[in-house]
Amino acid sequence: MGKRTIIPFGPQHPVLPEPVHLDLVLEDETVVDVIPSIGYVHRGLEKLTEVKEYTEMVYVIERVCGICSFGHGWGASAAIEGAMGIEVPERALYLRTIWHELSRIHSHLLWLGLLADAFGFDSLFMHCWRLREKVLDLFEKTTGGRVIFSVCKVGGVRKDVDSATLREIVEVLKGMAPEIRELADVFMNDSSVLNRMVGVGVLTKEEAVELGAVGPVARGSGLRQDMRLNGMGVYDRLGFEPIVEEAGDCEARCKVRIREIFQSIELIEKAAMDMPDGPIAAQVRGNVEGEFALRIEQPRGEAFYYTKGVGTKFLERMRVRTPTNQNLPSLVKMLKGCDFADVPIMVLTIDPCVSCTER
């Protein structure tokens, strides 16, 4: 046994702007044990539901995360709709799906940029974020917000998108596709990138099940697990089939996300084509009574929402469990036995959103 050293990693670390602290126990250059600590930015948003009306609470829940904000708004609204038995109009479901997939593109591009930044490829980082900007502009044009949209409400959506704008969204995304393909080429074929990712941080399929990995982490390990399969939105009508990679290493997780960007573009195209006419929101009357639990596939993985009302304007409990919460154990597993220099990359490939973990 070599000499053991403890290296503190975070909460302030150049590679990730989020406050996660890891105590890395090293033996020479190899990580033998990891103790994660979070909780630096606990915001008490779940507690806030007890004093905010459920209709307005959706806009607060959205702020759980600055990247998957639409998904959180959708999840919270859907959980309340489920408890109240509200049927959401078709058009609203299509719009939600489109916005959700747009935020997936934006999240994955952001993540690709951060990954490039983590292994020191800064021009690649800039290019990824340049493309992401176009998606943000689409958001601003359709919802009025660039990052936080406040467009999803209980019963439907707040803004309609006319067919000209829909066509424009599809056009912009189609124009982006070749550029993203160029970037993807660097991520998947460049030797300097591959050297950092292939065979690093392997999570086997069994471990992924055992530790309850979700999202691209699970799919990168060969699990066919995607909450878009469970009937939320209109994914079943768009012929959705999750993307799965078998290798389980950092490269596999990266590939899953790259392929998901192209898949999302296709999904949006199809959804924009079949979009039915009709109302965009259902009437919401009365108070929430009863409980409902559901999950939604966010860019980072499965998020869980549980809502419980007791017949007042305020919810008794709104539980939001974000994907990173569930991926932290997998991260700990991945890190054991890895090289110290690979720690930042591995932390990044689970796409951590630590602040979301602490509602």
């Binding site: 600590s37 007791v310 409990r317």
Partner: protein, 152 residues
């Protein structure tokens, strides 16, 4: 849309004693832990909800927490539950026995102790903590043991 998988709501109320056997049998059936959370109703009863997933269908069960706020940890079967159990410890003051990775109530940095359950005064606030027998090392203890060798 009611036939959609996400709309299937399984909620079951279990007795506290049934918890561990149930979790073990779910594990054998191949269920994946989705989450665990506590809720507090107006009359003060705290309920823990465990959610599991098999093939995209949720299965939830509830356990009512006894008044002494002590429960068995499920980290034996599902190691990843340590996050949720530490969270419940911090927010509700529920203490879990045999917790695989116990942060001792310091997982989240909250402005007030146990925001959902502030009335309860916990053991460690009354008297300095006597170490429970069966427990793995906490982060602080680990750092202490390692302390002599730490190089920074």
């Amino acid at each position: 849309m009611s036939e959609a998988k996400y709309a299937i709501q399984n909620f079951e109320l279990l007795d506290l004693l049934e918890l561990i056997p149930k979790v073990r049998s779910l594990k054998e059936e191949g269920y994946r832990l989705v989450q665990a959370c506590a809720t507090r109703s107006a009359d003060g009863t705290i309920t823990v909800i465990y959610s599991f997933d098999l093939d995209h269908v949720l299965y939830n069960f509830k356990v009512i927490v006894p008044e002494n706020l002590e429960m068995q940890s499920i980290t034996d079967s599902y190691w990843s539950a340590f996050i949720y159990e530490n969270e419940m410890r911090d927010l509700f003051g529920i203490r879990f026995h045999h917790l695989a990775l116990d942060y001792g109530g310091h997982f989240f940095k909250v402005a007030m102790p146990r925001p959902w359950n502030p009335e309860v005064v916990q053991e460690e606030e009354k008297a300095p903590e006597a170490a429970p027998e069966e427990r793995r090392l906490t982060r602080e203890e680990m750092l202490e043991i390692m302390g002599s060798e730490v190089e920074e």
